[in-house]
Point group: C2
Chain length 265, copies 2
């Protein structure tokens, strides 16, 4: 698996487990390059002193018949779940990769990183991934944020296609990854959740793929009541310009919960 890692200026391999980590999960079609090249987290990673990890969005070249036929399923579209269908279950295990395998591998390579102090963010499919992984692992991650997340994937075309292909027809299995379902049964420590959604994002207003309002509504029946902030921003679409424009706010948010700034920020 390819990966990009940004180490802040303050990173010191000799300071064992000293540098917190923000994991950025990218969206459909993306590689580790998109976030590293265009999301603009690095200036703030430097300012606050956290590393940024940019994983890939699926296995590559698994050799599964049909995996390269769609831009929104298979290669580039691993959907941050562990597949159970016969065709995909051996290779498409992005949930375990992000949540378990990757931190161990990176900790071996970069001794200065602190994988007990990790937050999650992501865009679109990656925004869903960040929310799902955070909510499925109460207390493991310090905070989560998302840019235009697929907030209710069991209830939109992208989610139906990917969950159907990776998890099969039993919709009960899909709900185990759906942030809008997961938040209601979450029972761990609560940090505010920061979400931005562009109002010129056609995947939102035209295609109904994102539905952050469903997530917000569900949060009102959860421990996160009053703690989920969905910022609807005019004129912004689904592009990386949108992410880059609000990277500062998300970085400040995570810096606070990663213990890198005082509460007065």
């Amino acid at each position: 698996m390819d990966i990009n890692v940004y180490l802040p200026a303050s990173y010191d391999a000799g300071k064992i487990h000293a540098t917190p980590v923000l994991i950025y999960l990218a969206g459909l079609t993306c590689s580790p390059a998109n976030g590293a090249e265009k999301a603009f987290f690095q200036p703030y990673a430097d300012k606050y002193g956290f590393a940024v990890v940019y994983p890939d969005t699926s296995p590559r070249g698994a050799g599964i018949d049909g995996e390269d036929e769609n831009w929104d399923f298979g290669t580039g579209a691993g959907f941050y779940c562990d597949a159970t269908t016969e065709k995909y279950k051996d290779h498409y295990r992005m949930y375990s990769y992000i949540n378990e395998e990757l931190p161990v591998l990176l900790a071996e390579k970069f001794a200065g990183l602190d994988f007990d102090t990790v937050s999650l963010t992501g865009h679109s499919m990656g925004g869903y991934g960040a929310l799902a992984i955070y909510l499925k692992n109460a207390g493991k991650y310090k905070s989560v944020s998302a840019f235009a997340p697929i907030s209710n994937p069991s209830n939109c075309p992208w989610g139906e296609k990917c969950f159907g292909g990776y998890l099969g027809d039993d919709r009960a299995a899909w709900l185990e990854y759906d942030p809008t379902v997961l938040i209601k049964k979450y029972d761990g420590p609560v940090a505010p959740i920061l979400i931005h959604q562009g109002l010129a994002d056609a995947f939102h207003y035209r295609d109904n793929q994102l539905q952050p309002e469903n997530f917000l509504k569900a949060s009102e029946e959860s421990k996160f009541k009053g703690k989920v902030s969905v910022n609807l921003v005019e004129k912004f679409d689904h592009s990386y310009f949108f992410i880059a424009s609000f990277a500062k706010e998300h970085a400040e948010h995570h810096a606070k919960y990663l213990g890198l700034v005082g509460p007065s920020l």
Copy 2:
């Protein structure tokens, strides 16, 4: 001509001519998107309060036979000069476009921009363009900087190909655009010139296309003696990661000469 413009948060169309401008000239093959998406100037543009203008690197679709056959000549490779050869002289006038036409057009569209307070930066071919335009127009621009500039184009393969194609065989005409020649006869106001060059940049160490050392040496016989800083940085190549990594230093440099920070910076 396509163009990208970043207006800082402080931009106010009602404050006529209040916002200084940094023009970013991109390298061979680039469009206005490369710098806007990957050079990371925007966070610092916001901090200091200058706009960033990202022009294209050539005309597009001029319909000249052969203009699309090379990645380093013709489309995407206008080389910031005014062509005089029969085939190219009607359309390939990037020098006049950047230096004269574009500021007038942008001032009409964005009344808040101050085109009397402009600085130049650029990468590779665009680094050459920034240096050449600055040195050919003494006093017009407040400062110039460059990332891995083609510093002595009359003396390297890229320059020989482009100058030959756009200006013809008379090398005397080439020298009118060569920063390493121009700096020696410059007789205007002097602001320090900031240059970064990656030592893992194959165009530098393998192909001899960049030659910032020639420019530095020439500066010692000029009004810029002691004022040109060529920072050789280990491990960096020719990519936008290199630019993004030093965008902060270049932005601070220009902010100072654009009058946006005190001399204590």
